[in-house]
Amino acid sequence: MEHRRVVITGIGTVAPGAKNSEEFLELLKEGRSGIKFSAEQEEYGFECQVAGKAESGIDLNDPILKYHEVQLGNDFIQLACTAALEAWKSAGLDIPEPDSEVDYRTGVVIGGITPGTDVIVDKIAPLIKRKKVRRLGSQIVPNVMPSGASAYLSSIFAAGAYSYSLNSACSTGTDSIINGAASIWLGFADRMIVGASEHYSPYNLAGFDSMRLMNKQWNHEPERASRPLSNTAHGFVPGSGAGILILEAHDVAIARGAKIYGEIIGSAVNCGAQRGGGTMTYPNKDGVIRALNTALGYSQLTPSDIDYINGHLSGTVADVLEISNWRDVLKLGPGKFPPINSTKALIGHCLGAAGALEFNAMVLQVENNFVHQALNTEDIHPEIEGMIGREAVPMQRLDKEINIAAKASFGFGDVNSVIIYKKWKENA
């Protein structure tokens, strides 16, 4: 089916150790970790006591933000607003006046997994138990609804095509990008504000710690704790932040002379339905392979066209399986397998926002011609090394031109998401 092309014209980032995309690019270039010791996790008795905590640095006295009452939003909302404002400005777009006309051709889909837990635990539950329901006030609902960030952004940017949230566990960010792209492909919108936000909250992390899914063995060395692809990875390290993109129909972006970063040339989503070895927490290999093949098929590429892979790779036992899936699909072994890394090594696993932040990392690497260091892989897992070779997992930053890059995310519920991205070149 012929459909409109979808390009990326704006990017906004708030990540652990980076308040904007410029700082994020520096972090990626340096292969610097944003992971630190977490006093809260120590106080609450977590096994894992390290985390990547993003700080928005948002100026709540900004007249636009004040008008839209962003100060009343929780961290999930404020992180999303910060990244979205950066993305919108980087796309060369003006922020609409509060009384402007609604733009029914621009939409919003911002994902989030559990944005309201702090509000539920700290405000709703104590007041209800004291029979003080009337004292909850007006800000409870917007701060617990997963579409809260989308609601704020549609207000700020007068975006009326649609405004909703999407949730698919750790695939949320990637799925939000795909959903926005699909809306443009299908003609529902000309421009989409897409991505995801994840605020730091021990309440959201406790369940993972209880499942022994978070790394407890590097509390004394936080920067070495997030170890995707390593033989000594013993679980993920939690992160937080927001990654937001402006997607536009190719013809709309060209007509207004926008700077174009790149194009989404293929994507796939599916669910292994917890069959064939898949469970709530572990993937059905067949589902993953179908998703990877489908995305490659849509993009009309051959495996050797892929210059770089940004993996899901969270530092759990699933890393080996993920590499074997990529290898089985690409049918490329040591010496041929493209460079692969996991941005989680630098910023942790930002859960709902992971796919969006890692996609931003991919866009920045493609734009600036490098593959960031696969931090903490000095002891690469031997099975991974055997499958794809040491050289595919760069110990140091690899400076090279990237034209085609692939991003995958996987999540609880046996869900899979893949995007194939192509660097923008004039007349290409």
């Binding site: 007249p63 009452e69 509060p98 007006s138």
Partner: protein, 84 residues
């Protein structure tokens, strides 16, 4: 507490909820909270909670519904405080 003190405290609470600073340039006791100060109607419940805390009173729904202007709020609070 005299009426002018009540008025000052009411204004400081309302200022937390106005979205544009310039609405105060023309504000007076007759200014309507929603129309003239352009406060989001959902914030009325938050304003009433703040007033209850500030003046240690309880504002019932009937009183809340009767408050349209800044002066309405000041008068209602002043009356409740005198009756306590």
């Amino acid at each position: 507490m005299d009426r002018s003190e009540v008025n000052e405290k009411v204004l400081s609470i309302l200022k937390k909820y106005t979205r544009k600073d310039d609405v105060w340039e023309t504000a007076s006791g007759d200014s309507k909270i929603l129309e003239d100060l352009q406060i989001n109607s959902a914030r009325l419940v938050d304003i009433m909670l703040d007033l209850e805390d500030e003046f240690d009173i309880e504002i019932d729904d009937e009183t809340m519904d009767s408050i349209m202007t800044i002066d309405n709020a000041v008068d209602a609070i002043h009356a409740k405080m005198k009756n306590q």
